[in-house]
């Protein structure tokens, strides 16, 4: 073995020991999760703790005539019953939403959706609290309700929000009707209309991304504990953004922010459900402040599905204009957005429709216009980003269905049409017609790899044969090939256009190296299952050469963690991951000075080698990071302050734009409407890959939720505003049996502006998956002239498609 081989081998061994970026490190948090040793909000038991439960409205829209709490208060074990009348003197019967609206904490004069919170019973145990909710007598006068958002702005529509009926300018500009929330427009309307007026080919379709709900296994919950002596509030809760919650609690309660300790312990999934502030959090806080003892609130499954934060409910009139040979010239979209009874969307404040303007997708569309009208209805509020960046699933669904419809009209292959219109690799950074600067991409390479791997040409040939066989009556099965080529926009975001309640959407990392060379790092984000304790440590390991196993990652305690905006919209890696790398580099720079002092050379004479600085040309003279850490505390260079730590608040210069090519092969039994996914192939490009195993897990999870949304998951209301199917009896949460097998693949196009080139991946599979499934279903029926088939594609709806086409006769 020659010297160089020896050196290389030694370096490889040291690199492997670090378990840094790019390695399939096992998730360290799973040691406790797989043993049932996680510590969740509901595990918390405090001395004297009381339990709260809500009295909820059976009506979708009704006037409250009276509330009588006397029977409930008389039940032994009941300590208090809060109503709006108790909260009003404190100014807490309404709370601000993230979207610039206010939301009732407890209904005052009216209820506006079924299961709305009307009173909060506090009792000695969970069972008594629940019994007592049945003893609160509320007299209602039912009012006509609005379920269909297209009727919200009818001239004779009942006015829902009497509290703001005279306020004709909302947080996002003028309101056209008392039930109108905002109109938001972007792009060049005149130019777009002009292109459409003389285009060779146009398509126009109402694409509905139906109302559903992110359904983490752990529901929303909180424990508030107010110390009357110290005047301090400790609030444990299921918070995806604990610091934001602290600030909001301070703003609405008047307690100084330093006397509020917000702690998010282990969280059992979020998917956007745990970004917002809910009545239960406020009531547990008020209960504890009033009573001086801890108060716990734990939502049950039906409450979770029917009240806290729905997703989607976008009704998108989508148009494309193209030349006859398939070059897309313009896109025009109008969205009617059903926001429910309050505008409680969890979007960056300036973006009432999130990043819906990513709807030009992966295509070089020179001209576009988007308008969004938000309206109130008698439904639960929300509009959260369900495993996606803000409204990006909706946007990608619109463009990816629209290109299929265009391909159908042009008689072109849907893959070919996409390739023809892709933004080319040399066009990045690419300015989109609706205002975004795409950082990097290589769409043609990804698409080619995906098509070759799935065997696209052969699948189309098989499909042609099956279609003929179907026409001849030899089979009752339809084969669909779904394609989706998506571009996400994640990592909110640059302060210039992203804030929440005025707080710029930076994120943070604080890294502290202990004298013995082990590390604690704290973040402004909060994992809900993403594996942050594993992946952030890998970034630090690679950056500063300390093994990931010697690095502890801590999140969720606002007293110790640096301020951050939390985890949603795939922002942890793009923003806090960048902060982590930058903070680590600050430490490394100081370490280099210390090493130079120890080795008695000039800093410039040192070079970095995996886990150590060594003297150039003298490889045997080196100091490991571990040695440097000891020296940093005990033997720093003269005039240098001791210690080895750094903090970084990272303000991203741009969003990141992950992308991917997905293919789905589906077989549908026309007689039952049952669809079976034969294959699903997902190629993701999330830039630099920190942990391939975690990426694969994220892709599996995101695809499973996409499968659910596309194929049956929904929150439906009947004509009276009764919420249907809000339990796991009906709400489609696929089990391992229903979930298809996933084939995953990747290309790597690093983000040019991110310190480690990473883009984020947790939400891509959901964003790309939903239209892929829907396209497969639509493709299966397309040759029969079915036209656009709305989601969700559950069996009875697909059977109905066949029925309308006369396939069952």
């Amino acid at each position: 073995m020659n010297d160089q081989t020896k050196i290389d081998q030694d370096r490889a061994e040291r690199t492997e020991k670090l378990q840094g970026m790019g390695c399939k490190r096992k998730r360290v948090e799973d040691v406790r999760f797989t043993q049932g040793k996680g510590s969740y909000v509901d595990d918390l038991k405090l001395p004297g703790m009381l339990f709260g439960d809500f009295v909820r409205s059976p009506h979708a829209h009704a006037r409250i005539k009276s509330i009588d709490t006397s029977r409930a208060k008389a039940l032994p074990g009941v300590v208090a019953v809060l109503t709006a009348a108790d909260l009003k003197p404190l100014g807490l019967h309404y709370m601000p939403t993230l979207a610039g609206d206010v939301q009732a904490v407890l209904a005052e004069e009216k209820v506006l959706f079924q299961n709305q919170e009307v009173a909060f019973v506090i009792a000695e145990d969970r069972y008594i609290a629940s019994d007592a909710t049945e003893l609160v007598d509320v007299e209602y006068e039912a009012l006509p309700c609005i379920v269909d958002p297209f009727k919200s702005m009818d001239p004779d529509a009942p006015i829902l929000r009497e509290d703001i009926k005279d306020k004709m300018v909302g947080a996002h500009g003028p309101r056209k009707h008392p039930n109108h929330i905002f109109e938001w427009q972007i792009g060049d309307k005149e130019a777009t209309d002009a292109v459409f007026a003389k285009a060779d080919v146009t398509i126009k379709e109402m694409l509905v991304d139906h109302r559903t709900h992110p359904s983490p296994l752990e529901t929303c919950q909180s424990v508030a504990s107010f110390d009357k002596v110290k005047g301090e509030l400790t609030l444990w809760g299921t918070f995806q953004a604990p610091h934001v919650i602290r600030t909001v609690v301070s703003l609405i309660s008047g307690l100084p922010e330093h006397k509020i300790h917000v702690i998010a312990p282990d969280i059992g999934g979020g998917f956007g459900n745990k970004v917002g502030a809910y009545a239960g959090y406020v009531c547990s806080v008020v209960g504890s402040i009033v009573l001086g003892v801890p108060v716990k609130w734990v939502e049950d499954r039906m409450e979770n599905l029917s009240t806290t934060s729905f997703a989607r409910d976008y009704h998108m009139t989508t148009e494309l204009a193209a030349t006859k040979d398939g070059k897309i010239q313009a896109m025009r979209v109008h969205v009617l957005a059903d926001h429910g009874a309050f505008d409680a969307c969890a979007d960056p404040s300036k973006w009432p429709a999130g990043f819906m303007n990513i709807c030009t997708g992966s295509y070089d569309i020179p001209t576009a216009h988007l308008a969004v009208d938000g309206v109130y209805t008698n439904k639960a509020s929300g509009g959260v980003a369900y495993r996606c960046s803000f409204r990006v699933t909706e946007a990608v669904f619109a463009i990816e269905r629209a290109v299929e419809l265009l391909a159908d009209k042009l008689g072109m292959d849907a893959a070919e049409l996409r390739i023809k219109n892709f933004i080319k690799a040399e066009q990045f950074p690419y300015q989109s017609a609706l205002g975004w600067e795409y950082d990097s991409g290589d769409y043609h390479t990804a698409m080619k790899k995906a098509m070759d791997t799935i065997g696209y040409k052969e699948l189309r040939e098989e499909q042609a044969k099956k279609r003929d066989a179907f026409k001849r009556g030899e089979t009752r099965e339809l084969m669909g090939i779904g394609i989706s080529f998506f571009t996400e926009i994640v990592g909110a975001g640059p302060a210039k256009n992203c804030d929440i309640l005025g707080i710029a959407m930076f994120d943070s990392a604080e890294i502290r190296i202990h004298p013995t060379g082990s590390v604690i790092a704290r973040m402004g984000t909060k994992s809900q299952g993403q594996g942050h304790e594993t992946t952030y440590a890998q970034i630090i390991a690679t950056e500063i050469g300390i093994p990931a196993d010697d690095i502890m990652i801590e999140e969720g305690n606002t007293d110790t963690a640096p301020y951050g905006l939390g985890t949603y919209g795939s922002r942890s890696t793009p923003v806090a991951g960048a902060a982590t790398a930058v903070a680590a580099r600050k430490i490394k720079a100081k370490a280099q000075m210390i090493a130079a002092h120890m080795l008695e050379v000039h800093e410039g004479d040192l070079e970095w080698d995996v886990d150590r600085f060594r003297v150039k040309g003298l490889p045997e003279k080196f100091k490991t990071m571990k040695e440097i850490a000891w020296a940093a505390y005990n033997n720093p260079p003269p005039n240098m302050e001791p210690g080895l730590e750094a903090v970084n608040y990272y303000e991203p210069p741009n969003m990141t734009y992950p992308f991917g090519a997905y293919f789905c092969v589906m077989d549908i039994d026309v007689d039952t409407g049952v669809a079976k996914t034969r294959r699903f192939y997902a190629l993701d490009d999330c830039g630099t890959r920190i942990n391939p195993m975690i990426i694969e897990g994220q892709v599996h999870g995101g695809l499973t939720e996409a499968f659910a949304c596309a194929m049956g998951q929904e929150i439906r209301y009947d004509e009276h505003g009764n919420v249907m199917g809000a339990s796991f009896m009906d709400f489609f949460l696929p089990t391992a049996v229903e979930t298809p097998h996933w084939e995953t693949d990747h290309t790597v196009t690093p983000s040019p502006h991110h310190p480690i080139g990473a883009k984020g991946v947790g939400e891509s599979p959901h964003v790309g998956g939903v239209p892929c499934f829907s396209n497969a279903v639509n493709d299966a029926y397309a040759f029969l002239g079915a036209g656009h088939i709305q989601m969700p594609h559950d069996a009875w709806r697909l059977w109905t498609v066949g029925q309308k086409l006369g396939l069952h006769n």
Binding site: E134, R301, T672, G712, D730, F732, T735, E738, W796, W799
Partner: protein, 288 residues
Amino acid sequence: MIPGTFDYHRPASVEDAVALLARLGEDANILAGGHSLIPLMKTRLASPEHLVDLSGIGNLKGISVKGDEVVIGAMTTQFELISSEDLGRHIPIIAETSRLIADPQIRYKGTFGGNVANGDPGNDMPALMMCLGGIYSVTGPDGSREIAARDFYQGAYFTALEHGEILTAVRIPIPSPDHGYAYEKLKRKVGDYATAAAAVVITMAGGKCTSASIGLTNVSETPLWASDAAALLVGTSLDKASVDAAVAAAEAITQPASDMRGPAEYRTKMAGVMVRRALERAQSRAKG
């Protein structure tokens, strides 16, 4: 989803259970596994003051062959139905159906008697018992009596069982060893009740159907015995026209509710599709 307050009783014998039910009156419910009752209690659609758990009564469990019948104790779990060699040999459709009930965890706790006795039209065993001609043995304060499965179901959660009576066992005649059978169940996902399901048992001789019985699950307020549909098959070769006629006759007696599984029209048609598919499989299994 927090149940109201209740007292829990666990008698050791059928006599004790009957006496308890007589003493506690209408506010007592029998707990025989709980997979229908407990969800109703958690949503407070049912708020019994007393639960009388039958799991402590040893002699309510077990499967035995007696002459030309199989007798199944009411507290036999669905898992035990699946693993019984006697049942597998004589009436294999019971295991086939049991495997389609809920999921393995529930089948370890869910009981045969609970499934047939509580009158939930979504349960799978009632239609199967009607198909097979099962006889329910019932004990109450006035002694024991027998009720045919085909006479037992009167409405959703409403049966011929009087309050205070306990279903103790079910007698099922063993079909011809040459019989063909199938249980076809359409459901949205594992654990779901049927959108529609059909149980079919037939015998064939010389290419002709010599007997047929069809049960339908969850397409009416009660499980259904589709006797007219079955009668249309006897004497035929199960040719397309005969099967079409039987399917139409089966569809005609359904009265499903529109729910999240689909509108009534769909569920009726699915009952027909399930009958057709069950017949195909039953025919392929029938000897003779």
